[in-house]
């Protein structure tokens, strides 16, 4: 399962609208947690999304690539926050929110979530998540992954808005 707060979920969808008609891309930082839900082995709990640049300027409408140098910096940022890279997101402008053969061939982060948003005529439509499963390159596969979107504000944020516990 992918678990993400509504604000981060909306932010990654808005990123796809912002870069339309080109593909956007970014990184999901959070923690991989054991699941307490029957039938779900683990949860990639996203706590922060980080926008990345698409280096595929030659074909940005249907390709994306994150510069490894930028990934190194994002991984450092994650470490500083006590978080891990738990997934990635990108958009499919005027194309379904399903992984393509290219997405699969270029996916190497086993155990991570690959989130794809279809952007139709500039508006974000469907968002799907796929878990890259398997033990290695030889038997890797994408599995449909349910997304849990948290609506309620985190407790700390709620407390900050309401420091005396008053209505």
């Amino acid at each position: 399962m992918l678990r993400i707060h509504y604000t981060e979920y909306e932010a990654l969808r808005a990123h796809g609208e912002g870069t339309y008609p080109n593909e956007c891309c970014g990184v999901l930082l959070g923690k991989n947690l054991a699941s307490e839900i029957k039938g779900v082995s683990s949860v990639n709990h996203v706590q922060l999304i980080v926008r990345a640049g698409n280096t595929r300027t030659d074909s940005a409408h249907n390709r994306y690539n994150i510069a490894p140098q930028e990934l190194v910096k994002i991984q450092r940022q994650a470490r500083g926050l006590g978080l891990d890279i738990v997934g990635f997101y990108h958009s499919h402008p005027d194309h379904p929110a399903q992984w393509s053969a290219t997405d699969f061939a270029e996916a190497h982060w086993l155990g991570c979530s690959y989130v794809i948003t279809s952007v139709e005529k500039g508006k974000a439509a469907l968002t799907n998540s796929f878990l890259l499963s398997g033990a290695g390159e030889e038997d890797k596969r994408f599995e449909d992954q349910p997304i849990q979107i948290d609506i309620a504000a985190p407790l700390a944020e709620a407390a900050a808005h309401n420091p005396k516990g008053q209505e």
Partner: protein
């Protein structure tokens, strides 16, 4: 020197995100790394012993492929290696 391990490979380093491995060059550090954590080898290298094409290795802020001596570049204990698999894709088949 410290080596930063990406999320998918941490199951082969006992969950450690950073491991400390001694060595005089990048390749020597990698040899030692795969001796200490043998399961990493098949994920990092082809059966012919070449670094897999999608595995990027950074010495501090430099891609080792672009260093003059590449894998034979000398390293210090204070240097940092980062293993980072590539991220790419797109809707086009």
């Amino acid at each position: 020197m410290n080596i930063n391990i990406p999320t998918p490979l941490r199951s082969y380093t006992g969950g450690r995100e950073t491991v400390s491995i001694p060595g005089a060059t990048v390749s020597a550090v990698f040899r030692e790394l795969t001796v200490k954590y043998p399961e990493l080898k098949q994920h990092l290298f082809t059966p012919e012993g070449k670094l897999r094409s999608f595995v990027n290795v950074y010495l501090n802020d430099d891609d080792i492929r672009y260093l003059e001596s590449k894998e034979e570049t000398a390293v210090k204990d204070s240097d940092e290696l980062t293993i980072i698999p590539s991220i790419a894709g797109g809707s086009h088949l």
